[in-house]
Amino acid sequence: MGDAGSISIAIVGSGGAGAITAGNFLLEAAGTVGWQGLLTRTVGPQIRGGEAAVCVRLSPRPVECLPDRFDLLIGIDWLNAHRFGAEIEVGPQSLVIGDPRGGELPPNIAAAGARLVEIPLKEMAKAIPDGRPNMIALGIAAKLLGLTEDTLRTLIKKRLADKGEAAIEASEAGIAAGFAAAADLDLGLRLPAPKPASTRRWLLSGNEATALGAVRGGVRFAAAYPITPATEILEWLAPNLLRLGGALLQAEDELAAINMIIGSSFGGTPALTATSGPGLSLMIEALGLATAAEVPIVVIDVMRGGPSTGIPTKSEQADLNLAVYGLHGDAPHLVLAPQSVGDCLFTAQWAVYLAESLQAPAIVLSDQFIGQAQACIERPADVAFIGRRSRAVDIAGAYKRYALAANGVSPMAIPGTRGGQYTADGLTHTERGTPTSGIADHHAQLDKRRDKLERFNYGDHWATIEEAGDLAVITWGSLTGTVREAIARAAADGASASLIAPRLLAPVQPERMKAALAGKKRVLVVEQSHGAQFHRYLRAHYDLPAAVRVLNRAGPLPIRADEVRRAIMEWR
């Protein structure tokens, strides 16, 4: 067995060699027989001619992070594989399969002491009309996993239906050749048969899950500017919003995108934009407008390496400071972070619900890792959170858009409502909305906007808390799955630790965190940021015990479960 009852496979090749397609098919085939899994792509910025790798981790149970090392590595070619460096690690127990004419084995892989097997993938592909080496690699991987050729054939027929009979035949022949080539090979690992699933497995990326969660929450308008790694959210929303009677506008830039969604929401239609760090930077001014004018909007930031253009195709958790503190003035708003591919759905839906309920902007900090990872998971539960905005309908007398209500939320008149006419304003305003520079109005409206967020009951969804001992590992976002696995492995080695992962980063929840930290003597903070932004954020808002250690690193090399496990073990 590989890490924690899973098997992990990596397939690498030059950009365009089809490694990623092979990985996608492998995950889907495993899903159809009931396994769960996670697939990540690692690509260079080039569309073709660069490097591409696909990592697939399969298990009978949910998979929420990458393995420490890969049990099986197949190189369609090794031409650019050295660029992955430490991202694809193999060990003495691993099986490495490569084409003898596929270039030189990268030094770190050659030095790992893995079992090496040569299979002439290119030559075999040439023997098949329109044959491609990636399908042979797929056949090899499937055979070694114990999947049947029938499962693969059914999948190929479904996936390549629109490519024609010849393409299907070529792929089937490639897969058959792969099965034959692997006939005498043994991975030395077997996954237990999956429990029969009560419902069909879902296969989706975090970005798709985010988009689905948003429309489940009531979003019917989106505006955005394309940006890696957020674009898949837009590409899912564009056709599907139309089907739902909504629309997506491709904006001329991010400044336009966020103002467009403010316009839509002002008109009564819940709205969203999706971007990454550079786009979020451009949106900050208008986020302040949405805060001041009390217009609900949702901004998804699929974080990538920064600052500036950074590493667009790789993950990092370094937009936390910008999201929490970036706005000028005192501008209370919501910041949330999903914790897995499946949780992207819940968190996006909850973000819409909170934004609509509180008439405030919500920033959702997803990241490249969970955004672009494909997961094969159990169908996510239906959630009851549907955006419900307090609306002013039967208006008699003078309407006060920003009336000081006990809970801070004042009913919002939607254009078309007679008697509700008001001007939404970024200028400091009176209860009616009329601009003023008066001290009393300024203070009253600042209080109103703070109180409505602070007095709301966010319930248990604010954080994932898994109680097990006086060492608390505090993490956030996509590292939650990694830390959960590390804690499970440490427990197997006799060291217990609790998990605390806030899903709601702003407004902060001091009372809830105090309760979560009760009895904790030590805190280990785990985060993927060079500047330890999350650690500083925790220090600023919460009382931590005296003993605190921080495991932080910039992207793009992911923090592995084994690193966290070791940090727990070393601190017994």
């Binding site: 739902l244 336009a256 002002f266 001014e285 008149a413 970024g426 009329t434």
Partner: protein, 278 residues
């Protein structure tokens, strides 16, 4: 509109709010406000079905002075905000108010793309060739030799030509007005709002404080000698060669407005989820 019939005709006063305008005495924008309210009354639009959207600057204060719905947003982004509103709520009449700094400088990119997108809305720019609210800096339409504290001896830069840019970018209706001629301005605004697609109305609106020389504009403006054309090539030649004081409708296009069909779902949400099932 049925609402109009049941409520009787609207008067100009129905569109005026009780908020006292913060503009200098003699500012051209007072007349623009008057032309707005007169045009809305003439069109018989229920005030709650009109939204006036603006950015930042003297001219952008106008929404609160009307009794319509309004949005006074951030600097330069009024067209974007209005575009999102119009796509989501095509039933509303959307009028965007801006100035030469807000609309042509910080918001310049949105001007191009709103013209190109051709949503059915009206864009009114009150052009006084100066930044008034920040006390007299050169704007994209300021003459090259105009001396300011920020541009001693003048900018030396050729002024921006908004009407040509609107035409080249795809605006469907282009007109120039003078604030001091509210009857003509009202008539043109009525036409602009009625015309399908993106209507651009540039209103020369003098800044009496930082550009007292603009008091002379009333003597320079003159009605356009020929009627509006629907031929962009002819319109371009006219606009490029006129003296900048030619008042009237200069171009009327027949491009179909952009508007996605919103409001009626063709599938249930549960249907979309099936895409993810294995």
């Amino acid at each position: 509109m049925s609402t109009v019939e049941s409520r009787g005709a609207f008067k100009q006063a129905d569109y005026k709010s009780d908020v006292k305008p913060i503009w200098c005495p003699g500012c051209g924008d007072y007349h623009v406000l008057m032309s707005f309210t007169r045009a809305f009354a003439e069109l018989g639009l229920p005030p709650e079905e009109v939204v006036v959207v603006s950015g930042i600057g003297c001219s952008s204060r106008i929404p609160a002075y009307t009794n319509c719905y309004g949005f006074h947003g951030v600097h330069g982004r009024s067209l974007a905000l209005a575009s999102g509103l119009k796509v989501a709520r095509p039933d509303l009449t959307v009028v965007v108010a801006s100035g030469d700094g807000d609309g042509y400088s910080i918001g310049g990119n949105h001007f191009l793309h709103a013209s190109r997108r051709n949503l059915d809305m009206t864009y009114v720019v009150m052009d006084n060739h100066i930044y008034g609210m920040t006390k007299g800096q050169p704007s994209p339409t300021t003459e090259p030799e105009f001396d300011t504290a920020l541009s001693p001896g003048g900018t030396g830069l050729r002024p921006f030509h908004p009407l040509v840019i609107a035409l080249a970018s795809g605006a469907n209706f282009i007109a120039r007005c003078f604030s001091g001629a509210p009857n003509e301005t009202t008539a043109i605004l009525v036409e602009a709002i009625r015309h399908p697609g993106f209507s651009f109305v540039e209103i020369l609106s003098p800044c009496v404080t930082f550009r007292p020389d603009e008091k002379e504009w009333k003597n320079l403006v003159h009605p356009a000698p020929v009627a509006a054309t629907s031929d962009p090539a002819k319109a371009a030649r006219r606009i490029m060669t006129d003296d900048g004081f030619n008042i009237g409708i200069l171009y009327r296009g027949d491009r179909k407005p952009y508007q996605p069909a919103v409001g009626t779902p063709s599938v249930e949400l549960a249907e979309l989820e099936k895409d993810f099932e294995l």
